[in-house]
């Protein structure tokens, strides 16, 4: 049987591929991968690391899934249509946000092409990866025979997957379409391994780490392991099964939210699971989060997802799946046996951090750092260059090709973990942002990001750097964008991270600082630890990451003296005056090789995709799981690895 598989480089898709490779019935497997070469190579590399060396029966086909005919010429499309028997469509956009346009583009557009392909070749069958959460807000039984049952939807993901199923059911090829609806998918049941920490991992992370959550302890939360999902889809596809299959636990086998919280917390070495409160109290919890940070999961997206998903209304019936899979010898392991392992392995992979006391207490050993670490003690020495009336502070470490780091509210030292990895082979220059650091300037100076880009340009001239790799996070990312559009010839590559230039402006996470800056003497209130903590609480995904020492460092960096507080006020005011329309227009013409790296749990993760789509030179989009705005500080190893791979590619 000849198989075509999309979305192989995803949590479920990789497991489907793994299962297909183990089965003889699959005589040839063709992966549809992105047309972008760098991205394709990266996905292949990751896949091969996960599933093992590819056999000769596996081939790769370049396709743009959201384009008509997958971006193929008419002849190529005709050939493609006759080159396989079964298509398994696992590619999807899983973000649980409200960006319906993006969700529809990723989850609905490919469906139209699949329908056209099935109409073109009557021998083809399609297996479509959907989700059990097409049930949306329904309360009560949701069977494999249901779709439209008067439900609403919590987010764009649920709605777009529902619409895709409706489209497939109403099409003339519906009798050749099989729907697979997994519930919350996590890693491998026995080992906890996962191709990537997408799927239900953000929910599991919230469940494991939060102390207080808006959830219904008596409701069910339905987790299934990815290897069960992958093996089921592969087996049903190869057996020619048709219909809809719920790859879920159902009521009896799934866990109550209360039990799941306790088990997940156990995976982090915590003795007690999150305390659950009714969803009606969710708004109050959010407000309370401002005064008791560290206790609440108040990350906007994580919080909203918890509110919706930990009050699960539908009960998934698994009648058809149980019948079809028991005949194949595939059984579903009970979540109480594997959930803790999944969380523990995920935590070791991405939640642990050198400053995370919890990580130490549970004795988690990080895997060997993928990037060597340099001695960057020289970083501690601050250098200055006067550019006009501004005394620009900066740090230098390492030798070689220059890499410029621009920071935001978390300050220049947030880059330390990344710099020590980059400086092994390159010259790292961290430039301190005026208004958020020791860079000195008068009250009358222009603190706006455009003017700061000019400062960067001036400093590079002084340092005899004609072109460099530019990396910017937060407001530093906005400065980097201004720099790149004005002096693209000075940019070898551009890395943008969690730089909120596409959504609310000034950025949401600066709202507390903005309010303080408006009050007379308001920035002085940052001296109070509780105020400082509230002001910086949006920076990290994991609240425990915001230790008192770290908050104090942030405070000292941006508001440690009367001069700094004056500069902070001016900086905040400049943001309010900044016009981003021109910048966004110019980004549409930026050909510089660009990578977007985003904390997957930053509430604005959908902006990463928007930025990626708007920059013609954008080559890569990386999401760092279990990280927020300061993903470079929370996960320096992953961040540095991504950046190093990208810069190496560009430099070759």
């Amino acid at each position: 049987m000849r198989i075509v598989l999309t979305g192989a480089a995803s949590l479920a898709g990789a497991e489907v591929l793994k299962s297909l490779l183990q089965r003889r019935e699959a005589t040839s497997i063709r992966l549809l991968l992105p047309t972008d070469e760098a991205l394709r190579r990266q996905e292949l590399h990751r896949l091969e690391s996960y599933v093992g060396l590819f056999p000769a029966a596996l081939s790769v086909f370049e396709a743009e899934l959201t384009a008509p005919r997958f971006g193929l010429s008419v002849n190529a499309w005709e050939q493609f249509a006759g080159s396989f028997d079964v298509a398994i469509h696992c590619a999807q956009r899983e973000n649980r946000d409200h960006d319906l346009a993006a969700a529809r583009s990723a989850n609905l557009l490919p469906i139209e092409t699949w329908i056209a392909l099935l109409q073109h070749n009557p021998a083809l069958t399609l297996h479509h990866l959907s989700t059990a959460f097409t049930a949306g807000t329904r309360h009560g039984l949701y069977t494999e025979f249901d779709l439209e049952c008067g439900q609403g939807f919590h987010d764009a993901y649920e709605r777009s997957k529902y619409e895709a199923e409706v489209r497939l059911r109403e099409s003339r090829v519906s009798d050749r379409v099989t729907i697979h609806r997994p519930s919350h998918t996590l890693g491998h049941a026995s080992t906890g391994a996962a191709f990537e920490l997408s799927g239900a991992y953000p929910l599991a992370a919230t469940l494991a780490s939060a102390s207080l959550l808006p959830g219904d302890g008596r409701a069910r939360v339905d987790f299934v392991p990815a290897d069960y999902v992958g093996a089921s889809i592969a087996a049903l596809a190869l057996a020619g099964a048709s219909g809809t299959f719920h790859l879920a636990c159902g009521w009896h086998a799934s866990l109550s939210v209360k039990s799941a919280a306790a088990i997940a917390a156990g995976g982090l070495g915590r003795r007690k699971g999150a305390f659950l409160l009714p969803r009606i109290i969710a708004p109050a919890l959010r407000i309370a989060g401002a005064s008791s940070p560290g206790k609440l999961a108040t990350r906007q997206q994580a919080f909203a997802n918890a509110r919706d998903l930990l009050n699960q209304g539908p009960v998934f019936d698994t009648f058809l799946a149980d019948r079809a899979l028991s005949a194949q010898g595939i059984t579903r392991p009970a979540p109480e046996r594997w959930l803790e392992t999944a969380v523990r392995v995920a935590a070791a992979r991405s939640w642990a951090s050198s400053e995370n006391p919890r990580a130490k207490s549970i004795n988690v050993h990080l895997p060997a750092s993928p990037v060597p670490v340099a001695d960057v003690s020289a970083m501690n020495g601050r250098l200055y260059q006067r550019i006009g009336d501004i005394n620009v502070a900066y740090h230098v470490a390492g030798d070689g090709e220059p890499v410029i780091f621009l920071h935001g509210v978390s300050g220049p030292h947030a880059w330390d973990g990344v710099v020590e990895r980059i400086a092994v082979k390159r010259r790292a220059v961290v430039i301190e942002t005026l208004g958020l650091s020791d860079t000195e300037g008068p009250e009358t100076a222009d603190y706006g990001p455009s003017a700061q880009a000019a400062l960067v340009r001036g400093l590079l001239s002084r340092l005899d750097i004609s072109s460099a790799h530019i990396i910017g996070n937060d407001v530093g990312g906005v400065i980097a964008q201004f720099f790149a559009v004005r002096w693209p010839h000075c940019v070898k590559s551009l890395v943008l991270s969690d730089c909120d230039a596409q959504g609310t402006w000034p950025p949401q996470h600066l709202s507390a600082l903005t309010k303080l800056a408006r009050l007379p003497g308001g920035t002085s209130a940052l001296k109070l630890p509780i105020v400082a903590r509230a002001a910086f609480r949006e920076l990290a995904y994991d609240r425990r990451f915001l230790t008192s020492a770290r908050v104090e460092r942030y405070r000292e960096t941006v508001a440690g003296s009367p001069e700094k507080r004056m500069r902070l006020r001016q900086f905040i005011r400049s943001l309010q005056k900044t016009d981003l329309a021109t910048l966004q227009h110019m980004l549409g013409q930026l050909e510089v090789p660009t990578m977007i790296v985003w904390g997957a749990d930053h509430g604005s993760a959908s902006w990463a995709r928007a930025l990626y789509d708007s920059i013609p030179g954008a080559r890569r989009l990386e999401l760092i799981p279990f990280a927020g705005i300061s993903c470079h500080e929370e996960r320096p190893d992953l961040f540095a690895k991504s950046v190093t791979d990208f810069i190496d590619d560009v430099s070759r």
Partner: protein, 380 residues
């Protein structure tokens, strides 16, 4: 005599129930199928009254849980408000209800042995045991479900004396099928208009739809269950939600016997289905499934019911029960409405004051009220 509670129908056994007038509603196979396919927080206990030799003299199931649609007969505003409260505050706020009787019965009561002399004593013992179960499982409300008009009024009086408030439940529909042929049934049981309508339905279906009955219908379930769900999701009163595994369990039952009637269009599309339970003396057209995507959905509904009636007559079955909905259509088929009663007991002091209001609201469900409504062209 003593009352006992059992956690599985298998603990009692089919033989112990054989002497009781369980009818189809309390038949061993149906209760077993329900027990095996319960979902959500629902649990079941079986209360028996036994003599000193262990002979079961009276018997009823008690279902306890918070996912019972106990307010389906109340005003929509109350249902919506209740659902919103549970969605906002969580399942801890859901009302836990103990429902006494078969969950999917068309006609309720308490099956009692013919030799039982002290019926009221048995009812009292049973009510005490039901109260104990309700307390043990924190039920806030106990409902004695669908007590049929044929159940002795004296026994109902014992229930009222035991603290229950009595109101009307939806009436059930009985059809006399004690005729030698379907033609006789049409001529004697059905009105002139009904007769004309029935013949028209068969004429319209001629050559277009084929109905077949299947005893061994397990393999049909994946093909027809979607139709049954469509009817459930469209229903005005959504009571118990049955999973497909319930049908699979019913397919295994021999007590009562069951069969599946399947309606197929001439292009091979399955457009209707009906689950039938039957014994030697009675039949229930239990669950119907309709393809609402076709224009003839009304015709399919009628055909399934008429063919169900044909099969009852052919088997010599004298009574057919048509359920508790679609009164207009079913009276046209010759059905008679028979009163049923719902008896409520609140254990939660907040619910107690609402019972008189519920009783007042449910007066609209008396057979007389519904008949009057049908004559005036209104349906509940």
């Amino acid at each position: 005599m003593r009352a006992r509670a059992h956690s599985s129908i298998d603990d009692i056994g089919a033989e112990a129930l054989a002497e009781l007038p369980t009818g189809l509603d309390f038949a061993f196979g149906i209760l077993r199928a329900m027990e095996k396919t319960l979902w959500g927080e629902l649990l079941v206990r079986y209360v028996t009254v036994e003599d000193e030799h262990g002979t079961v003299l009276a018997f009823t199931p008690v279902y306890v849980g918070s996912n019972l649609n106990f307010n389906a007969l109340l005003p929509k505003a109350i249902q919506s408000g209740y659902n919103a409260m549970v969605a906002g505050l969580g399942m801890a706020m859901a009302t836990r209800v103990a429902v006494v009787g078969a969950l999917i019965s068309d006609k309720g009561g308490i099956p009692m042995h013919s030799r039982l002399a002290d019926r009221s004593g048995a009812v009292k013992l049973m009510l005490e045991e039901i109260d104990r179960i309700a307390k043990e499982h924190h039920a806030q409300l106990t409902m004695l479900k669908d007590i049929h008009q044929d159940f002795p009024a004296a026994d109902r009086a014992v229930m009222v004396a035991g603290g229950y408030t009595e109101g009307y439940s939806l009436p059930t529909i009985r059809i006399n099928t004690d005729y030698p042929s379907f033609e006789d049934y049409l001529n004697k049981q059905v009105s002139k208009n009904g007769r004309k309508h029935a013949r028209k339905q068969f004429a319209k279906a001629e050559g277009l739809y084929t109905l077949t009955a299947h005893d061994d219908y397990d393999a049909w379930i994946p093909r027809v269950f979607g139709l049954h769900r469509a009817v459930f999701l469209k229903a005005k009163y959504q009571f118990e939600e049955l999973p497909p595994s319930f049908f699979a369990e019913c397919a295994k039952s021999t007590n009562p016997k069951t069969e599946l009637l399947v309606c197929e269009r001439n292009d091979g599309r399955i457009v209707g289905s009906m689950l039938i339970f039957y014994s030697e003396s009675e039949q229930q057209n239990k669950r119907i499934g309709i393809d609402y995507d076709i224009a003839d959905s009304g015709l399919i509904y009628n055909l399934l019911n008429y063919v169900g009636i044909q099969r009852a007559i052919a088997r010599g079955i004298k009574t057919l029960w048509l359920g508790q909905s679609s009164y207009l259509v079913k009276t046209r088929m010759g059905g008679d409405l028979e009163d049923q009663y719902l008896l409520l007991k609140a254990h939660d002091p907040l619910l107690k004051p609402t019972l008189p209001l519920q009783r007042w609201w449910m007066n609209r469900y008396s057979a007389a009220s519904i008949r009057a409504g049908l004559e005036q062209g209104t349906q509940i």
